[in-house]
Symmetry: C2
Subunit: 209 residues, 2 copies
């Protein structure tokens, strides 16, 4: 799911979208992707690059990244060379199809991230789109008994789509209902934003071991 | 995404759905989930259990699993004890929100598995549902530039939904178009069923190292 815009960014350094004074490339060699409001996009960058650029935002002098052309050039080379090698390779790992646990983990990741990027004040179309997506997800989910149970859950607990916070909490509750059924610990839904949206950096976390 | 049916199965050993002579429990202690046609469900079981039960299907004598009540009881205990421990735990790992790579990997896993479970001969409603799901997925995908590119891709390459094989190949091609853009090796789409549906066990695989 990483696509054209990103590869175009690597070719076109003048492409708009990099706020003044902010890094162009990340430590991974990828171009940093910013949201339309100029903030670095967490779900569009690798975690390494996102951490680097948010650190740079707080203290530009201490950042390892730069808009310095020399550094950018090195970063591009570092990215381009392994890319060529990879493209020439015809062998790949024989990974097995996802099992029920991998499929569940992957699907919860997508759903919670959808909530993390859902608008704070969604309009009628956005609420309708997300409601329809959740409904189709429950209908099509490729583990039949999980799908059946999820469908039952959303019949009894209609998705709450009036705001990002409400949708995030609804999903957290839905996930917890499954956690309880299969004997996993419940997640504290007061922390859903740290887990799925903002990260833990600025949290006074008493749960830390 | 593992839910009520599974936990109910652990309580009700007489629940229908286990074909005659087939194992009730897997090596993981979970109850084996079968499809409506009596075949073990790959996406509803752990890989370990699925492999165990398909092995048992070919050669019942050599299987480590059994419908023997003593073994089933051991398996249930093995599952129940750690489940209780987990439920009492209030600490959990402070995982970071998914980055662009984790989100991409998770999403491709879900999409390819949707294709793997898509009907061979889908009716009009099934085709419409999947078309709508793909369209909403492209609209809502929580990395904005990836979503934009995927939307463009499906505008230029309309999803092919007439059969499982066609949809599976269409998705494989879509994934490859991204692989090429980011310098990853292309996947041989003749092998999409092995990678995402059937596994590699019975394949004369010349790519094996």
């Amino acid at each position: 799911m990483t696509t054209e815009a990103e590869s175009q960014h690597t070719k076109d350094t003048n492409k708009p979208g990099v706020p003044h004074g902010m890094p162009v490339f990340g430590a991974s060699g990828r171009r940093i992707i910013y949201d339309e409001d100029g903030k670095p996009c967490r779900t569009c960058n690798t975690l390494l690059d996102f951490k680097m650029v948010t650190h740079a935002q707080k203290d530009p002098k201490s950042s390892g990244s730069s808009t310095n052309p020399a550094l950018s050039s090195t970063a591009v080379s570092a990215m381009t060379i392994p890319m060529k090698k990879a493209a020439e390779t015809t062998q790949y790992a024989k990974d097995e199809p996802p099992d029920v646990e991998q499929l569940g983990k992957a699907s919860w990741s997508l759903l919670h991230t959808l909530a993390a990027r859902y608008p704070n004040e969604p309009n009628a179309e956005q609420q309708s789109d997300m409601g329809q997506f959740i409904s189709l997800f429950a209908k099509l989910y490729p583990c039949w008994f999980c799908a059946k149970d999820f469908k039952k859950y959303i019949e009894e607990n209609k998705p709450v789509l009036e705001s990002q916070e409400k949708f995030g909490r609804w999903l957290c509750d839905a996930h917890n209902s499954v956690n309880v059924k299969i004997g996993k610990p419940k997640f504290d839904c007061n922390l859903w934003r740290q887990r799925w949206k903002d990260g833990w950096d600025n949290v006074d976390d008493k749960l830390k071991k």
